[in-house]
């Protein structure tokens, strides 16, 4: 009984809890936030190095009468039935499939060679890392305009552009995954006397395969979305149709193709992300 009474008595004389002192913001946070604010103001300002962006201007422009927005209610949904638009769409899909597939095949060994576990030797690793960094800074449309200039107008240039773009995306993501693998199986394989390629085959690749497959699908989604642009620089696919109608000012048809594009991307995204959820 007396034991049960004791605790409250012990609590009562305790000092009133004071509020702990607030930690000071780190120098990093202060500098970082200042830079971000200055950068935002500098880029918004209407001067030599700013964009002169103003929301009120955007608003007046949007509410003014213009043919682009006026065409939205009259969107030409018949584009979905038009043979030429459908053909261009199928070309886009085929470019995306082949570009991603080719890129994925090349990207797996490249990704392994850019990591400390998988590289045959250091110079190869550093050289490939540099190539991968440079490739990654190219957006797909730059690849496309380079290939259009060198190889010529048409679907082949678009295909090659998506091929290069996929390599860049998949190599980077896969290499990051390889860096994070469990080293246990690798040590086990080495202890069992596996050579370099056997280690990769039996201990590294099985660990990264699901992630790699999901990166390939992700890259396919990116490629499908990106392929809308390729046609604008002459690399085939639906972008060419888009550019054609845009230059003629036929916005009803442009919006029709946009709706069609929207539907295709949505369906492919749903399938692809369902598969990726299953993988990861």
């Amino acid at each position: 009984m007396s034991d049960a009474v004791a605790p409250p008595a012990a609590v009562a004389p305790g000092p009133v809890a004071t509020r702990p002192k607030r930690p000071r913001p780190s120098l990093f946070a202060v500098v970082g936030i200042t830079v971000a604010v200055v950068l935002t103001i500098a880029t918004t300002w209407d001067w030599e190095y700013g964009t002169g962006f103003s929301l009120s201007e955007v608003f007046t422009n949007l509410t003014n009468n213009n043919r682009v927005i006026a065409a939205i209610p009259n969107t030409d949904l018949g584009q979905m039935l038009s043979g030429r638009s459908r053909g261009a769409f199928i070309e886009t899909l085929q470019m995306a499939v082949l570009g991603t597939f080719g890129g994925a095949i090349v990207a797996l060994p490249l990704a392994l060679w850019t990591t400390t576990v998988g590289a045959p030797n250091r110079p190869v690793m550093w050289a490939l890392r540099m190539v991968s960094n440079v490739m990654r800074s190219f957006p797909d449309v730059l690849w496309a305009s380079l290939f259009v200039t060198a190889v010529g107008i048409g679907a082949l240039s678009g295909l090659l552009a998506l091929f290069c773009f996929s390599i860049a995306v998949i190599v980077k993501l896969t290499a990051d995954t390889v860096d994070g693998i469990d080293m246990g199986p690798v040590e086990a394989a080495r202890a069992a006397g596996a050579g370099h390629s056997q280690v990769l085959r039996t201990a590294v690749v099985p660990q990264i395969l699901p992630a790699y497959a999901s990166f390939v699908l992700y890259s396919f989604e990116l490629n499908l979305r990106g392929s809308a642009v390729l046609g604008l620089v002459g690399a085939g696919g639906i972008g060419g149709r888009l550019d054609f109608f845009r230059n003629q000012g036929r916005w009803e048809e442009v919006w029709g193709i946009v709706v069609m594009f929207f539907i295709v991307v949505f369906i492919v995204d749903q399938i692809s992300s369902a598969m990726r959820r299953r993988l990861v």
């Binding site: 780190s26 190095y49 449309v141 082949l156």
Partner: protein, 297 residues
Amino acid sequence: MTATATRVQAAPTPSRPARPRRSLFWTASLVLTAVLVGWAAVGLDAKWERLISAPADMWRLAQLMFGNMTWSDVGRLLDAMWDSIAIAWLGTMLAAAVAVPLAFLAARNLGGTLVSLVIRQFFNMLRALPEVILVIAFIPIFGLSLNAGVLAIAIGSIGTLGKLCAEILEGLDDGPLEAADAAGANRLQRLRWGVLPQALPELMSFVLYRFEINIRVSAVLGAVGAGGIGGTLVNALSFNEFGVAGLALIIVVLGTIAVDMISGWVRRRIIAGPRSERRHGDVAPDALAADALTATL
């Protein structure tokens, strides 16, 4: 003792374990891939004969581009690169200003079930719209100012950024939220003390990551006519000014890599904190980001 010895001798030599059967999912995926690739390869009307000469063609183009560079163009091209960076930064900030608050509503644990469902669908719709299509529509509306690019990037980023941020918020530890509730916090205080301290580093890191992506996007938008370095590069190529194109290419690559490096360093510092050392077996911060991306994008 003798019993154990005989038992060991009697044990069969270990046989190789049977190879696990491939799951139906993998087999089906492989078949589907094969069918798709076959269909595309047969159906695509490309000038395949040019594929063999493509590497040589690219090599010739590289020689033309990097052999004719004149350094007097550097200033003009750097200005164009800065325009691209400014478009990307401002677009990202605008997108964040809209997407982050919406993400709080879209997260199932913070917003209501119905509200979060509606906002999620809104994000999904925006995600399906490529920026290029936006900019094609915006250029005639906004004229040749940089507004079209900024707005296209802003709208194009809201969907992805919002979705990612909502996923981060859903993954939060419930403890601080419960503590805030128990201490009698109202909804705003709950966000301020229960959610923000946990989520802010990751949210900021994803906004920066999006900025890195948007640098590339703004270069793409330039090619369609929205200003910036991409437009300069594509125009130079189509007018056969190979020297200008080569220099622009170098500036794009160096500029993008420089921004990536700075932004990547800041992101690692935000997530991992000061003086953090990577220990053996730790997952690299970038790898974490990659996992998060594939899980959600």
